[in-house]
Subunit: 327 residues, 2 copies
């Protein structure tokens, strides 16, 4: 079943307005949820919407809160998210970073007391659309042990890096775990094992079994000791810059709220477009292991899915769509 | 055999002065080589020094060149390295980023036409010593295929992130390959296989055999498709910001020269030190798989090695030391 972008967005907005979201916030959040589904990130589009509504009803997300400036220091600002919706907070902060960058070459906005931003890539695409390089990262509740460690102490702390490009922005959006728990659940539901090791069993052995990993909560960081270090460093950066909650602090509660984030934008008179094209062409030119396949740059498949879904409508899980229509 | 820091540095400096390096450049490069060995990174300390000398003799490194400012744009600057030594160029650019950050909260210096910076961590430690968060990255000659690709088209493009801390700076210094070719050679010389998959054989299968990987030149990116994307994005960032050579361009020549780099410094009135300590303590508190071991933060072991080598002298490979003494 496929739904138009407008229908999806209107439905989200209707529900958010019913939940006392102010017009502008409802519109911004509904747009982002619909865009995530449109871009093929269904896990953070329609399929996530009911959880967002639950969090709003529980009071973790404050519909009428707005972010407020705590401190401005040169091209750096520190904001309090005041537990407003994570997406409108994040979009606001990237917009602010872009404004600072357009005047000063660079801008950095650190944000505390915010909520899940859904798809991190959203704010990378936003910066790139504005002609800026965008870099952003967030912390999250614990999901991985540190390298050599037993209990989960690190968040999957997604990192987003976007580079504007006429033929389609390059947008890297990667979490620090090799597979998210959501992705592992997909394999579990299909009764399949992971194609590569994704975590540890109780004995500390690296395994491909999603059921076992979801039980131990010992997901594998990308690059083993390297991703473990990077996840820790991203938590340190958001905490040092925002003064907000660390992964450890967030994880004291079962529900993920009050996370810390950072948004950096870089602007230049020109981004050396011809050189960017040269790099993309070179990377694609290395041949493929399987004949007929091709190497993609980060963001390329997203753009393909977007175009397809804009043309044919956005695929929805019918059960989920009915659930949302009934809200 | 152990040598004092001073003796090591003096020996390097003597040789560089003989090669017509100006006093200041010779001192700066000799200091960095000696520090790399002192910190236990022997591969980019004493053991690398003869290659550096060879590159200077071949004219790839210009001893008397200095970096020059191409463009200043708010808190961003673009410099030409003029093929001066990579270490003095990099140290200069991080110093400049720190100066910009101390006035504006943030500074970014992009650098083209430079040479290998040896240990990237050097410039992270430098920023942290100056009280700043330091982020820097470089491109490099090809060493890995892109995800799904066959021929190497990506550099291992190291990324450094440093956070200042009274009890010892946190300094992450990671290349995008799971194992460097140098590390693989170490395993090969010991007739050992890698403890985790490190690349592909001719058939495109993931393998642990360092001999085979060194033959195919198909090293594995950290986190599989994720590190492949990150390596590409880092190359795009340095090229877009500096206007310099990409990994593809650098790889047209057998010898690695004319690389592109980026140095970012962030300064704040306070870095929320207590929160940083909280994160470190929490991460260390998750228990370990093997009893008696402990979880380390990035930079912790470097500091332990530094202290040990400062006390007992710096271990040197005797053959290499004799070779350098005879230069």
């Amino acid at each position: 079943m496929r739904i138009s972008f407008q229908e999806l967005k209107q439905e989200f907005k209707r529900i958010l307005l019913k939940l006392s979201f102010p017009e502008e916030t409802a519109d911004s959040c509904a747009t982002i949820f619909a865009e995530n589904s449109r871009d093929g990130v269904y896990s953070h589009g329609l399929n996530r919407f009911p959880v967002f509504v639950k969090y709003a009803k529980k009071g973790f997300i404050k519909p009428d809160a707005l972010p407020s400036l705590l401190e401005a220091y040169g091209v750096m600002e520190r904001w309090d998210g005041n537990f407003a919706p994570g997406m409108s907070n994040a979009a606001h902060c990237m917009k602010r970073a872009v404004e600072l960058a357009k005047v000063n070459g660079m801008g950095c906005v650190a944000l505390k007391n915010t909520n899940h931003w859904m798809r991190g890539g959203t704010y990378g695409w936003q910066a790139a659309e504005a002609g800026c390089i965008g870099i952003c990262f967030t912390n999250a509740t614990v999901s991985m042990p540190a390298w050599g460690g037993k209990d989960p102490v690190l968040g999957n702390n997604p990192l987003v890096i976007a580079i504007p490009r006429k033929e389609g922005h390059v947008v890297l959006d990667m979490a620090m775990s090799q597979f998210s728990y959501g992705k592992m659940q997909e394999y579990e539901l299909k009764n399949e094992v992971l194609p590569f090791p994704g975590g540890y069993n109780e004995a500390g052995e690296m395994i491909n079994d999603p059921v076992e990993i979801r039980k131990t909560r010992r997901a594998l960081p990308i690059g083993l000791w390297k991703g473990s270090g990077l996840a820790l460093v991203l938590d340190l950066l958001v905490v040092a810059l925002s003064g907000g909650n660390s992964t450890g602090k967030i994880s004291e509660h079962a529900d993920e709220t009050g996370v810390s984030q950072c948004f950096i934008a870089i602007h230049r008179p020109d981004m050396h477009d011809a050189l960017i094209e040269e790099v993309i062409a070179y990377t694609k030119n290395g041949g493929t292991v399987k004949p007929g396949e091709q190497v993609s740059y980060p963001g390329e498949r997203t753009l393909q899915t977007r175009r397809e879904n804009e043309e044919k409508g956005i695929p929805v899980n019918e059960e989920m769509w009915m659930k949302v229509k009934g809200m």
